[in-house]
């Protein structure tokens, strides 16, 4: 067991755990942040996507020992009042079906827009390709990312 200090949604936590423990389970079982979802455990489905210094990463494949002093943001910390442009767009277009993958979808979309505020359709499809939605709500996910980009850039 080792001691780790991690910063999640602006709060620093002291965590005692095995160094190989994936961040996903620290978030979910230790910190009780249940928004980050378990889907596959091998970074194939994207349900566990979080932001690590603003980059979208899979928390199921990110072990504690791999972390340095990055700022971790989960869906719970994406915005204070559910008003991130991505969340607004998701609601406007009534995107979720079962909803389970949507936190990961939104985190991927938010990181994309941070890096590329005006993505083309192809760029959106490429960026979202790693996130599986078994309900296949893909049509609206794609439209919602485009709408969020439009809301971010009202003049264009």
């Amino acid at each position: 067991m080792s001691l780790f200090s991690i910063n999640v949604n602006g709060v620093t936590h002291e965590i005692e755990a095995e160094p190989q423990t994936p961040l996903l389970w620290i978030l979910r079982d230790t910190l009780k942040l249940k928004g980050t979802k378990f889907g596959c455990g091998i970074s194939q489905c994207g349900a566990c996507t979080i932001h690590l210094d603003g980059q979208a990463v899979r928390s199921c494949a990110l072990t504690l020992e791999m972390l340095e002093e990055e700022k971790i943001v989960t869906i719970e910390g994406l915005s204070e009042h559910l008003d991130h442009p991505v969340q607004i767009a998701w609601k406007q277009l009534d995107v979720p079906q079962c909803g389970y993958c949507q936190a990961g979808q939104m985190m991927t979309a938010a990181a994309l827009l941070e890096e590329n505020p005006k993505p083309s359709t192809e760029e959106i499809r490429n960026a979202m390709h790693g996130n599986i939605c078994r309900c296949s709500a893909y049509s609206r996910i794609e439209k919602a990312v485009a709408l969020a980009a439009k809301n971010l850039n009202p003049t264009s």
Binding site: K34, K37, L82, D94, P96, I132, Y138, S139
Partner: protein, 716 residues
């Protein structure tokens, strides 16, 4: 429209009201009674516990209305749509409505199930009558206060208004209303006056989903709860010989192990430790007498199709004679692989078995059935079992089966602890209850330019088609008609998978008709319309579909999908299939990119009667189409010596964003009662794509996964 509920069931059995202790009116109704006239409520009204009702509404003195949504929510949208129906008849503003998920309490219940796209269809009349009854009682209460006839008053946006324009808010009337007799007759609204039904209502759990709140079974925590992971046999047909847990018990967080049946549970303080502990078990399994492989299934199913043996599901006319007299015959075989469900939320369930009660909480499509199984297994009285439903991260049929609920209860019983059973993705995919591998042989006779006979034989692993399916199209459309089926018993567990059976029959049949039309040198839509016209004259009581509604649906898709007018480089394919009481027709458009088919667009026309929540309805159809195409193109679970060869998303492909076509959805204008949408969009989708692939390449597809079949055909 006045409708007497006496026709169906006595009102006393159907509705109960009471005053709430905190002020307000509570109306409960029993969906079982609403659906089944013979059903009886078991109790005296004075002893009613409203928790026992399948659905109810609470009208608070503050004017807010709480509607308990009875059925499990798996992403199909009933938690939004079912309360919309009550709110419509109640005459309240949708923004004053609060939705709660109803619980199950083991007695008397039926149809508190998510499955078969039936929630809205079965609930429609009962939900409307409940809302209308509450509205009428509030009107009656106001009328008494004013000393006027109730018929001179009306309800609007949570108020009762009289001819002078005086008004009472519902909240001011509930105490009086609760004391009134339940009216014998209630007027239901005319669909043209609907204000909520037919308008878009956002998913009621939207904000919780956006904020990442703990909604799902996977997220549930309870005081003192520990996590349990289960090591299943590695192959179907294996039994447990022995196991060594010494490495497991060294893992930090692991508490203990316990064996039950042929499984071993690892209990731990967190999910990760439970998973690691499960993997660290050293287990000796014993193979059973028949450890089957997919290559065996290929041969077995083909041999079953070739054999004369089969159960007749429906037979009309003289099929054999018509086949002999034909100008020509077309016979084709279609092959379907096993499919896992792959719900994004892996199976999980909370169980706390205590001396006097058993508490079960989690994602389950069949709470009542699962409670019964647990009661039987633990030898408990049914009333000791309670089930609470969480929102579900997908169902698709997998959560109809309470195997994991039973396992959770057994582990809690044996350990004496409150536990949550959690599956890893590998557990979920390799210890599944699969869409069975199936084969269909379809044969048709053509005489003098008409289809004179049709025969379909089904051979499946462990499963046979539902009884209703033989009465779908082309029954009645072709007078010499026979459907038969036969199955092979295997150790591999099978079950319902989104649009059970029709998910593949739809493909086989609709590919066949496309090829038949080609051979008859007819346009596939013209052939279909001709057959449906013929069906109108040969309907019987068993026939499930409506030829006219299907004709209208096909005509709508032909118009909206620009049938026959594809852009250069685009190729169209048509398919139409009725399932789960809904008529659907689809046109797929593909392009060939580097020699491979790419689906670019699907236009769907749907007749599901009145569309309760258009935004939810479109989402369901789009999802069904894309899901259907994805699984048909890529999906396949193969077995070798009883062992599943795929176990996670690195070796099992689901459709992803770059492969997703545009899906345009059109609804047939209708005043008919609504039918479900979770499933019907899916069955026609794969055939529409396969038929478009034929147009583009001249290659017919007889086998799923279609992409693999296409590539193999291209190479040969």
């Amino acid at each position: 429209m006045m409708r007497s509920l006496k026709k169906k069931v006595s009102r006393r059995d159907f509705l109960r009201t009471s005053a709430l202790s905190g002020g307000g009116l509570l109306i409960g109704f029993n969906l079982l009674s609403a659906c089944k006239p013979e059903a009886k409520m078991p109790r005296n009204i004075s002893e009613i516990n409203f928790q026992d009702f399948n659905a109810f509404i609470k009208i608070g003195e503050d004017g807010y209305v709480t509607i308990i949504s009875p059925n499990p929510e798996i992403g199909q949208g009933v938690k939004t749509a079912m309360p919309m129906i009550i709110a419509e008849e109640l005459e309240v503003s949708w923004d004053k409505v609060i939705i709660e998920q109803g619980k199950l309490n083991t007695n008397d219940f039926d149809r508190q199930v998510a499955g078969g796209s039936q929630s809205i269809r079965h609930g429609w009349e009962g939900l409307r009558a409940t809302g209308a009854t509450a509205r009428q009682m509030l009107i009656n209460a106001a009328a008494i206060r004013w000393g006027v006839e109730a018929s001179t008053c009306r309800a609007e946006e949570g108020k009762v208004i009289n001819e002078q324009g005086d008004q009472y808010y519902y909240g001011e009337l509930v105490a009086d209303a609760a004391k009134l007799e339940i009216p014998e007759k209630v007027a239901l609204k005319s669909p043209k006056d609907f204000k909520i039904i037919g308008q878009n209502a956002t998913n009621v759990d939207m904000d919780a989903i956006l904020g990442g709140q703990a909604l799902y079974g996977m997220d549930l925590e309870r005081e003192g709860m520990v996590y349990a992971a289960v090591r299943h046999p590695e192959a179907f047909g294996q039994t447990l010989l022995s196991y060594d847990d010494s490495a497991t018990l060294k893992i930090k967080g692991v508490l203990r192990t316990l064996a039950f049946g042929d499984k071993i549970a690892v209990l731990a303080t967190n999910t990760w430790a439970a998973f690691q502990g499960k993997d660290a078990l050293k287990v000796e399994w014993k193979d059973g007498p028949k450890m089957e492989s997919s290559t065996d299934h290929e041969k077995i199913l083909t041999a079953l199709l070739d054999s004369p043996q089969a159960d007749i599901r429906r037979e009309d006319g003289q099929v054999d004679q018509a086949m002999k007299q034909a100008d020509f015959l077309l016979e084709r075989d279609y092959h379907a692989p096993f499919l896992p469900h792959n719900c994004m939320e892996p199976m999980n369930f909370f169980a706390h078995v205590q001396p006097d009660k058993v508490e079960l909480i989690g994602p389950i499509q069949t709470p009542a059935g699962s409670a019964k199984r647990v009661a039987k297994e633990l030898n408990r009285a049914p009333e000791q079992i309670s089930v609470e439903m969480t929102r579900m991260g997908g169902g698709f049929g997998r959560r109809l089966y309470g195997d994991f609920v039973l396992d959770a209860a057994i582990i809690s019983d044996k350990s004496g602890l409150p536990i949550k059973l959690v599956y890893s993705r590998e557990d979920d995919m390799t210890a599944g209850i699969y869409r069975p591998a199936m084969k269909y042989r379809i044969r048709a006779a053509v005489k003098a330019g008409k289809v004179s006979a049709y025969e379909m034989k089904e051979a499946g692993i462990n499963g046979n088609m539902y009884g209703l399916i033989p009465n779908f199209f082309p029954a009645a459309a072709i007078q010499n008609y026979r459907v038969t089926s036969i199955k092979h018993q295997s150790d591999i567990t099978i079950g319902a998978w989104r649009a059970p059976y029709t998910n593949f029959i739809g493909f086989a049949e609709q590919c066949f008709f496309d090829e038949l039309a080609e051979q008859m040198q007819k346009d596939p839509i013209s052939l279909r319309l001709e057959l449906l016209e013929n069906a109108k004259d040969h309907l019987d009581d068993k026939i499930q579909y409506s030829p006219q509604r299907m004709i209208d649906t096909i005509k709508l898709v032909a118009r909206k999908g620009n049938w026959g007018k594809a852009k250069p480089g685009r190729y169209q394919g048509f398919s139409a299939y009725y399932s789960h009481n809904t008529h659907v027709a689809e046109i797929a458009e593909i392009e060939m990119v580097e020699g491979l088919p790419v689906v670019k667009k699907v236009t769907a026309a749907v007749d599901c009667g009145i569309v309760v929540n258009p935004t939810g309805a479109i989402n369901q159809v789009q999802g069904g189409v894309i899901d259907g195409i994805g699984h048909a193109l890529y999906g396949e679970l193969q077995f070798e010596n009883g062992k599943a060869l795929s176990d996670n998303f690195d070796n099992y492909k689901l459709i992803r964003m770059r492969e997703v076509p545009e899906v345009e959805v059109h609804f047939v204008e209708s005043q008919e009662h609504p039918t479900g949408l979770g499933e019907p969009g899916l069955p026609p989708a794969a055939a529409a794509v396969a038929n478009a692939i034929f147009k583009a390449s001249g290659q017919r597809i007889y086998r799923q996964p279609m992409l693999k079949a296409f590539q193999e055909a291209a190479q040969s």
